[in-house]
Amino acid sequence: MSIAIHFTDVIKKYGDTTVIPGLSLKIKKGEFFTLLGPSGCGKTTLLRMVAGFNSIEGGEIHFDDKVVNELAPQHRNIGMVFQNYAIFPHMTVKQNVAFGLKNKKLPKDEIEKRVDDILEVVQISQFKDTLPENLSGGQQQRIALARAIVIEPDVLLMDEPLSNLDAKLRVEMREAIKSIQRKVGITTIYVTHDQEEAMAVSDRIAVMKSGEIQQVGTPKEIYQRPENIFVASFIGRTNVLERQINRREDGSYRLHMDPSYHVSIKDIVWSKETNQETMMAKLSVRPEEFIIDDDESGMEGTILTSSFLGMNTHYLVELGDGEHVEIIQESILGDYLPAGTLVKLRIKKEKINVFDHNTERTMLGGRSK
């Protein structure tokens, strides 16, 4: 029952403004796929095109082999969960969940059984006969989820389903959503702008910006090997440093972090057009990819602020040339380093990412991602 979804050069325009200029993407059967991106990047727009609520101005969307561009939402066999739940307020929980099954004209006892089963799965059986207005946000969201998956849709679409819940419930519900999705195995497209949520639930994530996909990958790939600076800084926190890099005789590359601190790395893809041996690069170094040491080697810096946050301690460090970097270290038993301390910083060179200064695209290649 689950399907693969293919987008080929999909275009969306509202009047004269193009919101999605041509997007291609393949979502695999049974996959939990997340669209992640800043506000206004077109996530909702894309999702609603899959649902059939938005027209498609160009390109094609396929459900398996079938083009669905012109298919009305009623006939797409989708399940949709809305940000505001969109529960029918005049129907009981049970009637809400049974609504889609009744449209399919299933026999009564079959409806009964499937409703009971799904209410069990989302754990709201005890509210079966209540009107939704008396239920909490989390409970309403469970109804919405049950209502969407009970019809055994080919694809489940969710648009920021958790954004109206408080932080704790959000974590609880996202676990629930994930485990339910695993259990029923529906291809799922999930929209969020919360990257932690995306990491927690997704098989794969597409990071979007201005209607264009920046990178598609597993949460791990996206975090550890971002394709470009935008992805690196949108996912998690990072420090972007501009440094010189030069190619050496032995085929390795050298990063000039500091007049006195150089790092040698491999697997750089040197752009073919440049004959120069030296060029500028942008480095993305995440706060936990620094090592503070009083070793001889390392960039010189001064601690500006330090805050103890329990498991970790955060430092803001000023480098020799006035740059500021954020550093996170696992807290140690003794005193943490006070402001004003002079330190030497080293980087975990396997973990950092190197980007072309102009294109801002990754220069890393070959190395296992």
Binding site: N84, F88, I151
Partner: protein
């Protein structure tokens, strides 16, 4: 908006269907009316003779001036009276506020000509107040007939409309605005004039327009109390129904003049209010404060004084219904005779009021829901056209509509004049603009994603509407329907032209009994009508849990 890509769905068909109906029962008759006004009565060719005739004789064009004079005076006085009323009711703690609100509504809902007739009983040539003043104090009370009377009756009748508009607007004023004004030294009257008034100007404009249209179109009041002071609706009626054979073309020409005037005022108002409109939303609406001393007393006097005066005619009518009559005059003592005769003579009218009214109500609600839905959820050229067309009756006075319908449906195959159908059509068309607005407002409050959820679960567009949208609209629709019902049963100016012996309604019976001088019977019938109104309104309050009404 569900699937903008595929614009043609069942709603397109519905929109087209309603457009065709509107074209047939509204646009076509109005077109015929327009055509008639430019056709010579003798030769049947194009001519401006009717318009020449109108502007040649003072007797005719005087009516235009009279109408303008009344309408402008009424509009100004309602604004002057309603603004302090709404302000006091919002900011002062007034004793018995809830009860007063209900009285205000009732006073505005009864047909205005009942007010006119009651004022004649009170202050007319032989009125109780007139006689009392003359006998006891030897004072001649001012003449109630003519301009004064119309102004009095319509002002008292229509002030509540502006008041209700204003109460809505004042709810949107955040109390922090008033506090800010006070902190800058604006208090009392100054605060009201300099801070509150500018905020409610758009609403005042909207309310004034409604008052203007109602006053311009009102037929019953000037007919009863106007005497020599003729207004346009009266002139139209007289020319059309004239005993010496009415002049259709001339009546049509007068109608066109009224509609042009109404349209002009409508457009001016639109222009001004478009430039002045802004939206308000109060986090902390103004709370009524307990005032002390002189201010408090004055506020109570104003509120009770106005409402007393506004409700007086209806109370007095009810009172006279229980008086003994001998022939046509009231005599000492009480009895239910008037009611007995009323039921004998006008039992049919009661039945007609209910059957015609309920059938009309059914169509009003049905069409209003459909139009409201398509204009909110399926915005396109077609539905915009429908929106505009449905608002046409707003500027077409009832008597004009009546004549248009008669002219339009006087021949086969559309021979409708004299039937119940034509009255129902008139009721429906006249009430629709208001009901459409309220149903559109209800749909605006329903989140579109609820309908999308339904569609995503496989429900067709129609099924979504009937299973999801309509049930959610229902509470609002029912309360809107009650208000429509109340206005339908008090309709006079169109039905007076369209009725026959078989389709006489309560309002027409009351009117004819008043004209014949059967005051007892008229009072009894009016009492019944007032009670139907009150009961309907009480049901409305019960259902909505509201204390106010927005029209």
């Amino acid at each position: 908006m569900i699937n903008q890509g595929k614009k043609r769905d069942v709603w397109t068909t519905i929109t087209l269907g309603i457009l065709i109906i509107y074209g047939l029962v509204l646009i076509y008759p109005l077109f015929i009316l327009f055509k008639e006004s430019f056709v010579s009565g003798d030769r049947g060719t194009f001519s401006l003779e009717h318009f020449y005739k109108f502007f040649e004789k003072k007797y005719y064009y005087g009516a235009l001036f009279n109408s303008l004079k009344v309408t402008v005076a009424v509009t100004i006085s309602t604004v002057i009276l309603a603004t302090p009323l709404a302000y006091i009711m919002t900011t002062f703690k007034i004793k018995g506020k809830l009860f007063l609100q209900i009285l205000i509504l009732i006073s505005s809902m009864a047909p205005p000509f009942i007010g006119a007739y009651s004022w004649i009983l009170l202050m007319g040539r032989n009125g109780v107040v007139t006689n009392f003043m003359k006998d006891i104090f030897h004072i001649n009370t001012p003449d109630i007939y003519g301009f004064t009377g119309i102004l009095l009756v319509l002002t008292l009748q229509l002030t509540p409309l502006v008041y209700m508009y204003l109460m809505g607007a004042l709810k949107g004023v955040d109390s922090s605005l008033l506090e800010a004004a006070e902190s800058m030294g604006y208090t009392g009257i100054n605060k009201m004039l300099r801070v509150v008034l500018p905020l409610i100007v758009p609403t005042l404009l909207a309310g004034s327009l409604l008052v203007f249209m109602r006053a311009l179109a009102d037929f019953g009041t000037p007919m009863l109390i106007g005497e020599g002071f003729k207004t346009m609706p009266v002139l139209i009626f007289n020319e059309f129904i004239s005993e010496m054979g009415g002049d259709d073309g001339f009546a049509a020409a007068i109608s066109v003049i009224v509609v042009v005037l109404a349209l002009f005022v409508f457009l001016v108002q639109k222009y001004i209010s478009n430039r002045k409109s802004f939206s308000m939303n109060a986090l902390r609406p103004i709370k009524a404060k307990q005032e002390k001393g002189f201010k408090n007393v004055l506020a109570h006097i104003y509120v009770y004084g106005f409402i007393g005066l506004a409700i007086l005619p209806q109370v007095y009518v009810i009172y006279t219904a229980f008086l003994k009559t001998s022939g046509r005059i009231f005599v000492k003592g009480y009895s239910l005779d008037s009611f007995r005769v009323a039921f004998d003579r006008a039992g049919d009218a009661l039945v007609n009021t209910f059957t015609l009214g309920l059938i009309a109500l059914f169509f009003v609600v049905l069409i209003a829901i459909l139009i409201g839905y398509v204009t909110v959820r399926r915005r396109n050229i077609l539905t915009n056209g429908l929106d505009i067309m449905s608002m046409v009756p707003y500027i077409v006075p009832g008597s004009v509509l009546g004549i248009a319908l008669l002219l339009g449906f006087n021949n086969k195959p559309l021979m409708l004049s004299g039937t119940a159908t034509i009255i129902i059509i008139a009721f429906v068309i006249r009430r629709l603009p208001y009901t459409i607005r309220s149903s559109a407002a209800i749909i605006h409050q329903i989140n579109p994603s609820i309908e999308e959820a339904s569609a995503s679960l496989g429900a067709s567009n129609l099924k979504t509407f009937f299973k999801v949208t309509l049930p959610m609209m229902l509470p609002g629709v029912i309360s809107g329907a009650i208000l429509s019902w109340v206005t339908i049963i008090s309709e006079l100016s169109t039905s007076i032209l369209l009725y026959t012996a078989h389709t006489k309604t309560m309002t027409i019976s009351i009117y004819t009994e008043v004209i014949r001088g059967n005051y007892g019977i008229a009072a009894a019938l009016a009492t019944i009508l007032i009670f139907i109104t009150i009961i309907s309104l009480l049901i409305f309050f019960k259902l909505t849990g509201r204390k106010e009404v927005s029209l």
